[in-house]
């Protein structure tokens, strides 16, 4: 008799399944990229600016990523709900938390793919000076992790409720405010007009890391309760 897979092995299997589905259907990432690009165009006219720097650049960049992330978060568990994935996970001899880790990892992958395309587009549209982009990478990594962890947690709740697409953004947006504060705080210095400014940069990275850690632990502790029936 073979032993059931451990939590990380199980999470890997679910993650690979999700990525394969995404590669074959191209449901989330292309839509996110298109959405983000359109939002940049809307900001260009909404703000009536052709170049951005400092806080305004950080705001436009990060808010767009946030909204694009919401698209993926809303769809994250749709297949599980419609095709009995939740029951399958409950029946399988694995820790339900594996699903949480897998979905968070899938979201991180989607967001990274989105940013690889959307941030050069943002730079092309709005930035005079690209010097702030490379140091932005650690901020984005921690930001993606935060989106993914809270997103995976709230998405299960929303998916299993009647209000579905309404509930996820409603709960997530206030929950993500501290993450956005920290990411915007770091990014506005990096995108400042006269080249990157690293004042308070580490402080914001610490806040981002703390946020990720706290919600990762909470998700790990409570996720199982969301799967019980």
């Amino acid at each position: 008799m073979s032993r059931p897979p451990g939590i990380f092995a199980a999470a890997r299997i679910v993650l690979l399944k999700d990525l394969r589905v995404e590669l074959r259907t191209l449901e989330s990432v292309p839509a996110m990229v298109l959405f983000a690009t359109t939002i940049y165009v809307i900001f260009r006219f909404g703000l009536d600016r052709t170049t951005l720097d400092g806080g305004l650049a950080a705001g436009v960049l990060l808010v767009t990523v946030l909204f694009a992330a919401l698209l993926a978060i809303n769809r994250l568990f749709v297949a599980e709900r419609e095709q009995g994935g939740f029951e399958a996970i409950r029946l399988a001899p694995i820790d339900g938390t594996a699903l949480f880790l897998a979905k968070a990892a899938a979201l991180i992958t989607y967001l990274t793919a989105l940013e690889i395309v959307a941030i050069p587009i943002f730079g092309l549209f709005f930035l005079d000076d690209w010097g702030g982009i490379p140091p932005l990478i650690p901020v984005l990594i921690l930001l993606n992790a935060g989106f993914a962890i809270t997103g995976a947690l709230i998405s299960v709740i929303a998916t299993n409720s009647r209000a579905r697409d309404l509930l996820a953004p409603l709960i997530l947006l206030p929950l993500l405010v501290p993450l956005m504060i920290a990411a915007a705080g770091a990014a506005q210095g990096l995108l400042a007009a006269g080249g990157p400014d690293y004042a308070d940069f580490t402080q914001w990275l610490v806040v981002l890391g703390l946020y990720d850690l706290v919600f990762l632990l909470i998700g790990y502790a409570v996720f199982d309760f969301l799967l019980e029936d």
């Binding site: 409720s161 509930l167 501290p178 402080q203 909470i218 409570v222 029936d229």
Partner: protein, 244 residues
């Protein structure tokens, strides 16, 4: 028995609130800097502290619910959060009044405590749509508990992030030279804090009692509906009804 303790605690709350606010107006000295308007401090700050503590209490009950699966804890968690949201509305209103009086604006974005509180309030306001969007009772209780735990951890994180983002302009009534609050003011403040805390507790007890009573009533009503009608007597009381 239950009614008695509820009555006693109600009387105690009313007394303490009365004493507290009499002291605010007749005993506590006028603030040298802000004058009379500073007295809203004795209402605004206790309300805010009690509301935040109430959110944490809701989270603790939620953890107990997840551990025991006893619906009593879910009801406590719900009522604690519900009451704190109501207190939260009062905090935002009194905060706006204080801001208008001492800074000349109804809302001050550079004030980290006010902004943090608003964000926490917005998050907890989504507790209601969450609960009502889940029809199955067990799942509703479980999901609401998960939310309460998550949101409980969010409260301190949020305060850290907002505080780091903003300069300090709130009247640091406590921090001004540590013990800057004169002993008379401190005494009144603590009495008000206890009174408001008791008010919160009393209201929570009332709502829980109301919930329990409503539950008992509907259970009795259901039992009454299900029990077979005593034959004979029913016919005698309402012969027409039996024929129909």
């Amino acid at each position: 028995m239950q009614g008695n303790s509820l009555r006693n605690i109600t009387i105690l709350t009313a007394l303490l609130l009365g004493v507290g606010f009499s002291l605010v107006f007749f005993y506590a000295p006028l603030d040298a800097d802000q004058g009379f308007i500073q007295k809203i401090f004795y209402l605004h700050v206790p309300l805010a502290i009690v509301a935040l503590v109430g959110f944490i209490v809701g989270g603790v009950h939620a953890i107990r619910y997840l551990r025991t699966n006893d619906p009593v804890h879910d009801a406590r968690s719900y009522v604690a959060i519900h009451m704190s949201v109501i207190f939260g509305v009062a905090v935002l209103i009194t905060g706006a009044i204080w801001a208008k009086a001492s800074w000349g604006v109804w809302w001050e974005w550079r004030e980290p405590t006010l902004v943090s509180f608003l964000i926490v309030f917005l998050l907890y306001a989504t507790y209601y749509p969450l609960r009502y969007a889940i029809p199955e009772r067990d799942r509703q209780a479980r999901y609401a508990s998960v939310f309460a735990v998550t949101a409980g951890a969010f409260v301190p994180l949020n305060f850290i992030a907002v505080r780091l983002a903003e300069s300090f302009i709130h009247p640091r009534t406590f921090a001004t030279a540590n013990g800057g609050l004169p002993p008379k003011m401190q005494l009144v403040f603590w009495i008000c804090l206890i009174a408001i805390g008791l008010l919160w507790y009393t209201l929570v007890r009332f709502e829980l009692t109301a919930k329990r009573t409503r539950g008992q009533l509907s259970r009795l009503r259901r039992a009454l509906d299900d029990s077979p009608p005593p034959t004979g007597t029913a016919a005698r009381i309402a012969p027409g009804a039996a024929a129909r």
